[in-house]
């Protein structure tokens, strides 16, 4: 697979995540934008000069930004077929919209939002087509962040006593915020929590080593990772993480496969 094809597929998956996130916000915009994340309060989290600059984020038309930037994301892979400059414009629009949304909410940013930033900066640099060095660097940056995220998540779990003693998943799945009653009951069984916990730590810490196994290794890595993220989407309800992390997979395949 050519690097450009990998970037295009990656952008499509990333855009699906942005669209999912935007639709969630738009369907509950009265609760989220008007009542909970009330700009009249959040604006005071910024210094006065910045507050004046960010004033448009508080206008009712801000919802339009939430519609437009996922659309720019979907347009990016198609534009990449026609013109790199046009595609770069769409990637820049995505980043402006994405950053605006982060500033508008002020808090509640998660790892999926941060991975989207990594992806779209990588896609933007690639689309700018400044030269072979930056094109490859953009893809390497995305892939290395993906691997770094897994390795850090894994090693920090190993450093945690509750992950080592097998109780961590029972604790996390016991909360209402992420889990469901059925999943919680399942993970209250000590051996389930311990066995799944060890597998999560092993996958996150060592999974990337599989990439050294050539094309077969890359495919194995991608399959294991896809299963991991789909599992997380349903057990923890973190669907946007699934899109944000799987969006880097076609780039992994294009670069290493």
């Amino acid at each position: 697979m050519k690097l450009e094809t990998g970037i295009r597929y990656g952008a499509l998956i990333a855009s699906a995540g942005l669209t999912w996130s935007a639709l969630e916000l738009l369907t509950a915009r009265n609760l989220l934008l008007s009542r909970f994340f009330d700009w009249r309060v959040i604006r005071y989290s910024y210094p006065p000069r910045l507050r004046r600059m960010l004033a448009p984020l508080g206008r009712p038309g801000f919802s339009l930004v939430l519609v437009l930037y996922p659309v720019a994301g979907v347009a990016f892979p198609f534009a990449l077929l026609q013109s790199r400059l046009l595609a770069a414009g769409f990637a820049a629009l995505v980043l402006v919209g994405h950053f605006s949304a982060q500033l508008r909410f002020g808090i509640a940013r998660d790892g999926a939002d941060q991975m989207q930033t990594i992806l779209w900066v990588g896609f933007l640099v690639y689309a700018l087509d400044l030269g072979r060095t930056s094109n490859v660097a953009a893809a390497v940056f995305v892939v290395s962040q993906l691997i770094l995220a897994y390795v850090i998540a894994g090693t920090s779990k190993i450093a945690s006593a509750r992950w080592r003693d097998g109780s961590a998943l029972a604790v996390y799945m016991g909360g209402r915020a992420f889990s469901t009653p059925a999943i919680s009951r399942l993970f209250q069984r000590r051996h389930v929590s311990a066995v799944v916990g060890v597998r999560v730590m092993a996958w996150e810490t060592l999974g990337a080593l599989v990439l050294l196994g050539g094309r077969t290794g890359v495919i194995t890595f991608l399959a294991m990772g896809a299963a991991f993220h789909v599992g997380i989407a349903f057990t923890l309800g973190l669907v946007t993480f699934m899109f944000a992390f799987l969006a880097a997979y076609p780039v992994v395949y294009a670069l290493l496969g």
């Binding site: 509950a28 309060v41 910024y46 930056s134 909360g175």
Partner: protein, 180 residues
């Protein structure tokens, strides 16, 4: 010129990677965190998913009303959290759940390590984090003749067998603009 720009872009991405890497290393995190305080768009992520205390308990906001006669109502949940089924993956309210956690951590990080309720410093009551919760809670419908409203932030065991919740913060009563 294009070649130089290409090298520059690659170098910037490399520098960014190093900064993100240093953010993950406990020994260098402190220095990076000084910058992160001003990073409002998340350029320096922390990849330590589910290895700390975030997400290991539920944080809930409760509120109750007081009427003109001084009668205080029952505590109510300001925002019901949680999923019921495995297929409940559509979650606009997830951002509010994450906001609860972030707000609590920023409002009073010490309470997460200490037991009991402490008097609220003036700085806390005037912070935008506190005002954000107060603003939201004030818009909810409550007792018909309520004139004042108070909120509390509690930490609960979630789906575990019920236990006494940890009270992290109890606000004073705040006047409602027009009976809720």
């Amino acid at each position: 010129v294009k070649g130089a720009l290409s090298d520059l872009a690659a170098a910037l991405l490399g520098a960014w990677f190093v900064a993100i890497f240093l953010m993950q290393v406990p020994a260098t995190r402190g220095a990076i965190m000084r910058y992160v305080k001003h990073d409002r768009v998340g350029l320096l992520p922390g990849w330590m998913f589910f290895s700390g205390t975030v997400g290991d308990t539920d944080v809930q906001v409760l509120f109750r009303d007081r009427n003109q006669e001084g009668r205080v109502g029952m505590w109510r949940e300001a925002f019901p959290i949680g999923r019921k089924r495995l297929t409940d993956v559509w979650g606009p309210e997830r951002r509010i759940e994450k906001a609860h956690i972030d707000l609590v951590r920023r409002l009073m990080p010490w309470e997460l390590r200490a037991e009991g309720v402490r008097p609220l410093p003036k700085r806390t009551v005037l912070s935008w984090h506190y005002l954000m919760i107060l603003n939201y809670v004030s818009q909810l419908s409550g007792e018909p003749a309520a004139t004042e409203r108070q909120f509390a932030i509690v930490r609960t065991g979630g789906l575990q067998p019920p236990r006494r919740p940890d009270i992290l913060l109890v606000s004073p009563f705040h006047q409602l603009q027009s009976g809720a």
